[in-house]
């Protein structure tokens, strides 16, 4: 197996498009005195950059972008990723000059608007989630998780309770949960699901003791199911002195309906890049603010935005940074992802309002249940009950060796992004489907039709699936070979004065 895949369309690199002497920009005559160049030994004899006209560069990148699949391009039902449409007004607001041309080291008096936006976003997230305090600092979801488990540990230590070393994590949780706990040295104890896809209460009770830091719960879980015993689950963990962490990645299902803080969760991260329409998946930085109940507010990472001086009749309030009393410290430079995350999420919440956010959740859940109902006859559904914002089917058929991967590859021929594959691990050949609220019935029907058609093809022409995709730029990649024979071929040249070659520098040794 040494065949090389050849794409149907080849886009040359900028270096290959380069033509000596071609330029894109004419530099103006300098209007300041010319300075001498640094000494010759500090200068390169050559700088091998491509030479192109502006139009060459624009067309090159436009073509590359068209090879990609995006939310703007089509339906993207990637489960647990909430690939909803990202409204374009967010792009206008985050480019407003007052937000765009500010620097995090500016004196606070000169960025009061930015600080007010952050303050209001903290307040809105508190109201949406039912928590007492919010920090906007974490860079993304898993970073929020890490912050949360650090806060949970700090809380126990502050009470002189040093023996708590175990984190309980259901087998239907997001994979980042055990990773975040393991990262700070906690022991992860897996809790199984029961036959209805809820946390197995007996197993949970058996695992709860005075060594438990807490439970990390994704609710709705990765099966797309709301835990029917959620209040009991939280009560059991609290009874042994543990805290309950909520993975907010699936918050889209709950907006305006249920507040995790009201259910008794102690801490939760938000994914502004999922629930609140900040582009992600290669489209922009994440943002993973964290909310906590009152007893954990003092432990939040610093700084959070607060009012330093109350307003009076003549002057508005002065916003500034506050350090919570027992803060775990900074977990990131500066204040979090401001323009990329916070301004867009603020815009999204402001545009929807309370009633609009509630409709987001309702339509997300309705869309998922509609798709589930249409696919139920063609795909096996484990834990089959009313789902929340997403659901999981098995990508396998009786008496066939076809796998979830084959179905996903074939979906690409129908111009749909495949669902999440092989997660959660408790479902064999899992296909996890999250339509989000932004799709209309025609799109959902087109996707369901394609899935049903593929199930039919699996019966009548299985080779069509095995060799898929057929209509994409590249055919089926050999993922096994790519993983087994990992070849990293990009290295920095040792000598920039020489033209770039494919040859590996001798100093790197055997690869």
């Amino acid at each position: 197996m040494t065949e090389t895949l050849t794409p149907k369309v080849v886009e040359p690199t900028l270096f290959e498009l380069s033509s000596p002497g071609r330029i894109g920009v004419t530099m103006p005559e300098p209007d300041v005195p010319k300075a001498d160049l640094p000494p010759a030994h500090l200068l390169r004899s050559d700088l091998p950059l491509p030479e192109l006209a502006e139009v060459d560069v624009v067309r090159h990148y436009l073509r590359l972008s068209q090879f990609n699949y995006s939310v703007d391009g089509g339906f993207y039902p990637l489960g647990s990723c909430t690939m909803k449409y990202n409204p374009k007004i967010n792009e206008d607001t985050c480019r407003l000059p007052g937000f765009l041309y500010t620097h995090p080291l500016q004196p606070i008096e000169t960025v009061q608007g930015n600080l007010e936006l952050m303050y209001l976003l903290q307040e809105w997230l508190k109201e949406i989630s039912g928590f007492a305090a919010v920090s906007l600092q974490p860079a993304a979801g898993a970073h929020g998780e890490l912050t949360g488990v650090l806060i949970m540990r700090a809380y126990h230590k502050s009470r002189g309770d040093h023996k708590r070393i175990k984190m309980l994590i259901p087998d239907s949780a997001h994979g980042t949960n055990p990773a975040s706990s393991g990262m700070i040295g906690l022991q992860v104890v897996q809790i199984p699901s029961d036959a209805r896809g809820n946390v197995d209460l007996n197993a949970l009770k058996a695992a709860c003791d005075d060594a438990v830091v807490g439970l990390m719960l994704t609710n709705p879980n990765t099966l797309g199911l709301f835990d029917e015993n959620i209040e009991e689950v939280i009560r059991v963990v609290h009874e042994c002195g543990g805290l309950v962490y909520g993975d907010g990645a699936n918050l889209n299902a709950l907006l305006g309906i249920v507040r995790p803080g009201d259910l008794g969760f102690d801490v939760m991260h938000f994914n502004l890049h999922k629930t609140f329409s900040v582009p992600h998946g290669g489209g922009g930085p994440g943002s993973g603010p964290i909310g906590v109940a009152a007893h954990l507010a003092d432990f939040l990472p610093e700084p959070i935005v607060g009012i330093l001086e109350e307003d009076d009749e003549e002057t508005p309030p002065l916003f500034g940074f506050i350090r919570p009393a027992k803060s775990i410290g900074r977990i990131k430079a500066f204040y979090g992802h401001f323009g990329g995350g916070m301004v867009r999420a603020f815009t999204y919440i402001a545009m929807h309002g309370a009633e609009g956010l509630k409709q987001v959740a309702q339509h997300a859940v309705l869309n998922a249940n509609y798709l589930l109902a249409r696919l139920r006859g063609s795909y096996r559904v484990p834990y089959d009950r009313i789902c929340m914002h997403e659901f999981v089917v098995e990508g396998r058929f009786e008496g066939s060796d076809l796998r979830a991967l084959d179905i996903s590859k074939r979906l690409m021929d129908y111009n749909f992004h495949p669902p999440t594959n092989y997660f959660p691990l408790i479902v064999p050949e899992a296909l996890m489907i999250e339509p989000t609220e932004t799709e209309n019935k025609a799109t959902l029907d087109a996707f369901a039709d394609a899935m049903i058609q593929i199930a039919e093809e699996a019966r009548t022409n299985p080779d069509l699936l095995r060799a898929a995709p057929h209509n994409t730029l590249f055919g089926r990649m050999d993922e096994v070979r790519a993983a087994r024979e990992l070849v990293l071929c990009c290295w920095l040249p040792e000598d920039y004065s020489k033209p770039l070659t494919d040859e590996q520098p001798a100093s790197l040794g055997e690869r």
Binding site: R403, L405, N421, Y422, L425, P428, E479, V480, A483, R484
Partner: protein, 124 residues
């Protein structure tokens, strides 16, 4: 699905050979993981292991999984060749695909082949 009767099995899909002390991943496990692309053995010869301790980490194109010790004892030998050829776990799970050998071992709660086959069928 293949489960030789000379071996004992765990609920987490490891096999244990009472005659030799060798430990590996079952045929059922390798077929569900599909193509295995990475194996890292997490213990060294001479180390003492408890039942349930993670002894190896396995990655396939679908998932990653931990392999747990089915018996307590001292690690006598680890299969160093396996890291270079992870596909051995798919091709020969009960032979060349062994992971470690445990000496002076005290097995945990293990199933015989018939019970393990029933256990696998229940899960499918």
């Amino acid at each position: 699905m293949n489960a030789p009767s000379r071996l004992k099995y765990t609920k987490t899909d490891e096999w244990y050979d009472p005659a030799t002390g060798k430990v590996g991943l079952t045929d059922y496990a390798q077929s569900h993981l599909s193509d295995i692309v990475f194996v890292e053995i997490l213990v060294e010869a001479g180390e003492t292991v408890e039942v349930g301790k993670a002894i190896a980490s396995v990655e396939s194109v679908k998932a990653s999984a931990e392999v747990y010790a089915p018996a307590a004892g001292v690690v006598a030998e680890v299969n160093k060749a396996i890291a270079e050829k992870p596909e051995t776990l798919n091709q020969d799970p009960y032979g060349q695909g062994w992971l470690i050998r445990i000496e002076n071992s005290l097995p945990g709660d293990l199933m015989d082949a018939d019970a393990y086959i029933r256990y696998c069928e229940e899960r499918d």
